[in-house]
Symmetry: C2
């Protein structure tokens, strides 16, 4: 079979103006970037606001394993299939980060016959959104240090300045640095560092803002540090917000591309799914709901992290309510959750499968607790046996959950038509009655406990006195109404990545909390969270190159 990039390159793309017409946008309503990418203009977005909303479908997954589950691929396959069966559907995905493309092999535009194109562009610079976010973030960093350098008011203390810098690169050497060396002309020496751009609060803010006004208000609220008297100093205090907005003028507009089957797709924003909420922008999702009868979107990692944050943070803040949830699983991954090792997954083992199904069942239960109907999508591998498929179907029947076999990787949208029909039926049944897990007025610690107990099935949350004091101080400062953004391993319901399946009775240790006042959440860090990845011994970069026709090779 051809590689993903070969398939993508052979795609019969339609001009982006034709794709725009599918969502009611005239050529003047888009800002083209080449012939196959565009941004939707601010004026066009505004004109859609009075239209009724379509139905929202969230694609999420079981806890990821090295076997892979194919959540993005399934989202793309589903959107293509919905359009095939006559359901007018618009897909909303995240933008990939440049960094990982050069690290481990793998972009984030789907695979096989379920891809969005132009694959190389989307995976690299795309329309420059991440570069704009990087610039806006680092402009604030430069302005903060400049404020300290010239002794501006309010007086920021270097040792209480928490605003780092970002780069869209996997670069471990920048995690911890000392800046401002070489004398007073070069600023004040300061312990600081760089995060990858997707971990920037500016990224989270851009993805949660409902419009330009809200974006500006959120940027203004960013806390960059504190005075000696521990008074918070914000981006607005530093007079940085206006210039950041100028840099983000185009980045806040959703990007339009197409699937291999020429269906429209909005790709916009890509916050980390650990220290941020991990879904595409609210602006894109809200706009999409105005432009199509159905909107398919995706949340990062497994449902315990991605869906939980999609529902408790994004939907809460933006007033969104999903109508159905697709839970993606593979038989191989379920067998891993049931105890098989990575190199044993081709082996038929009903015991491992049945044991692993507990992970699936737990996610179904959790998602239903939000008042949402669920359909299970089995992303089928050729190695899956009929017997294994039957066992899985029987199990789902026992749980009264519909299940659909999908072969979109090999067949494109055709391979996800069963899933599409199940989704449409689920929505037509009209059983969705979304409610977030916790109300705004619980204390911050109670919110963390609610997630840990209801979703992770932990017995309790442990936190040091200092952490609890910080939460209490933020409540006193008026941030108690914020939702919590959980940061923990994506591989397990627990905080131990090795604990697969459906563990319970474990303890969640709350190591650290961070206030993202602009994004509007409190990050609860439970475990080791890496905000700047490193490159592997043999980075993918070594094999990426331009061929004799000027096309990119090695980006798979």
């Amino acid at each position: 079979m051809a590689t993903d990039i070969e398939i993508a390159r052979a795609a019969k793309k339609l001009p982006v103006q034709d794709i725009a017409a599918r969502i009611g946008a005239a050529p003047k309503d888009i800002i083209p970037y080449g012939h196959d990418k565009a941004k939707l203009s601010a004026g066009f977005l505004q004109r859609q606001s009075a239209r009724p909303d379509g139905k929202l479908i969230l694609v999420t997954a079981i806890n990821p394993t090295p076997a892979g589950e194919g959540k993005t691929t399934t989202s793309i396959g589903l959107a293509d299939a919905m359009n095939r069966i006559g359901a007018n559907t618009l897909l909303c995905l995240r933008e990939p980060s440049l960094g990982p493309c050069f690290g481990m092999k793998g972009g984030a535009t789907g695979g096989g016959l379920a891809q969005i194109v132009p694959m190389e562009d989307i995976n690299l610079h795309f329309t420059g959104d991440f570069h704009a976010i990087t610039s806006a973030h680092n402009l604030l960093s430069a302005l903060v240090d400049n404020h300290i350098h010239w002794g501006g008011e309010p007086k920021l203390e270097t040792v209480r300045t928490s605003w780092r810098r970002v780069m869209d690169m996997n670069d471990r050497s920048l995690r911890n640095i000392v800046s401002g060396l070489g004398g007073p002309g070069n600023g004040a020496p300061s312990e600081t560092g760089f995060d990858i751009t997707v971990a920037s609060e500016v990224m989270a803010i851009l993805c949660l803002a409902t419009d330009a006004e809200d974006l500006e208000a959120r940027l203004s609220r960013i806390i960059v540090g504190y005075t000696r008297e521990k008074v918070a100093v914000t981006a607005a205090d530093i007079k940085a917000t206006g210039a950041m907005m100028a840099l983000l003028r185009d980045a806040m507009l959703p990007n339009l591309v197409q699937t291999l089957e020429n269906n429209p797709c909005l790709v916009h924003g890509g916050p980390f799914a650990n220290i941020a909420h991990g879904c595409n922008s609210v602006i894109a999702t809200s706009a999409a709901l105005k432009m199509a009868d159905y909107v398919v979107t995706e949340a990062g990692f497994g449902a315990d992290l991605g869906a939980e944050k999609f529902l408790n943070i994004k939907c809460r803040q933006a007033g969104l309510a999903p109508d159905a949830v697709v839970l993606v699983a593979t038989i191989r991954a379920l067998k891993m959750h049931g105890g098989l090792a990575k190199d044993e997954l081709s082996k038929v083992s009903y015991e491992a499968l049945e044991k692993g199904l507990a992970n699936l069942a737990r996610h179904i239960e959790n998602l239903r607790s939000f008042g949402l109907p669920v359909v299970v999508a089995i992303n089928r591998f050729t190695t899956d046996t009929e017997g294994e498929v039957h066992a899985l179907q029987a199990y789902c029947e026992k749980l009264s959950v519909s299940v659909a076999l999908c072969t979109h990787w090999a067949e494109g949208g055709k391979g996800a038509e069963t899933l599409a029909r199940s989704v449409v039926k689920l929505i037509e049944d009209g059983t969705a009655d979304f409610k977030p897990l916790y109300p705004d007025n619980l204390s911050l610690l109670e919110k963390i406990e609610a997630v840990a107990k209801s979703i992770y099935r932990a017995d309790r949350v442990e936190a040091a006195r200092a952490v609890k004091n910080l939460l209490a101080a933020w409540e006193k400062a008026g941030f108690g109404h914020l939702p919590v953004c959980m940061a923990k391993t994506q591989y397990s319901f627990s905080t131990d990545p090795a604990l697969l399946g459906a563990p319970e009775g474990h303890v969640v240790r709350l190591r650290e909390v961070r206030l993202a006042a602009g994004a509007g959440f409190v990050v609860a860090i439970c475990g080791d969270i890496m905000t700047m990845p490193g490159l592997p011994r043999r980075p993918a970069a070594e094999h990426i190159h331009l061929n004799a026709h000027g096309q990119i090779e090695g980006l798979n």
Copy 2:
């Protein structure tokens, strides 16, 4: 009068497709970025290569003073004027850097009625070229540190690794940093820092490369550090070149925009004019010569730095030969060179003017020594008196140099028609017989001396033994044929910024030399060169913002 941004915003822009038609490019030959910016496709560029070359006009200036000389504005006004008088002309300019936009007030797209548009876009992210260059540079940095981290071959020594990082930002705190702190998982501690993107060798390389093949070869030759045995380690050794090329795929294509008078303009690349050569890309200039009868281009700073490097580096490497040179001056600046203070420039002083004219005369003499015919463009201010203008004209007559009064800032192309006619006449006279100042086979130190003595009129060059040894070592290693890239103050012919007018008999102290093996020159640093600017006490960023219509304000 309206501000520059107000004038730019009120411009009656033509669709970029119409501008493309002016240079023979069909809609499919361009890659649009919005409706008013585009890149020329690689295929289109290739198809032009067999066409005959037009005439090349270099716009340069006297030594800059705080009074301003208006080189970019004159370039734009001249191109508009040439097109007005029926001379089919294409303008080639540099891309502005993001950093300075937020520092001191001022973009780099001209001013008054001599501007290129869209002003805000060109001054901010434009088509993403600088972001791509930043990414390619920093990917190499990450790969270098990763190579050291994993102990790859050839073994690079941390203390001999000279490849820094870049950011398109004025951020003094990043000039000197220690990276890799926090334990072995975060790389090795290392003294390093960031330069502004325009100071990146990748920028210089992109601007000197003749095509994709040459770009790749130059990137491969970048020296990132040395082994313990002092053997140079290159980007090719680190296997970084292919991925850098992938990141630069679009950045190497020239950008097409328009002047306020709807004439085409290529804007591409923007290397520093001190540690690099300070002109737009060779790819853009060479392509422009195929697409128009006349090409107007500009070199950074005064003629002693900008024109010298344009001629000795860019023209030498790319096989270009100018047909005429426009030397821009203002009466105010000449009076400053003659001894008037900045706040006395409105005063009529024939004595100061005559004394200051020595600066103009020296540049004329220097430019003629390259075998090039010169015309002086007086960028007229309303405060200039008739008497001063006459004195200047008389002086130019004495030097047998034609002089043209220009009012393009207030009147657009109409105000530079006299200049345009002088330029066309100069070219039709056919007196240009370009030869670089020194041959390839002089030693590196002799080349530096040639510039210092012939152009700067210094008595001698002083250099420490260590500096001389380094030059000798590079000659031995096969880099002796390279031209030299002089880095000194732009304010004086000498290395003392306070020495205005036409000093002679001074001493040039060669402080430091750097080998830019990829760009293909040896940087000779004579004075304090800042490769990462800082922000002023009141940065322009404080006043930049989006207005209620989503338009950028405060970028002037």
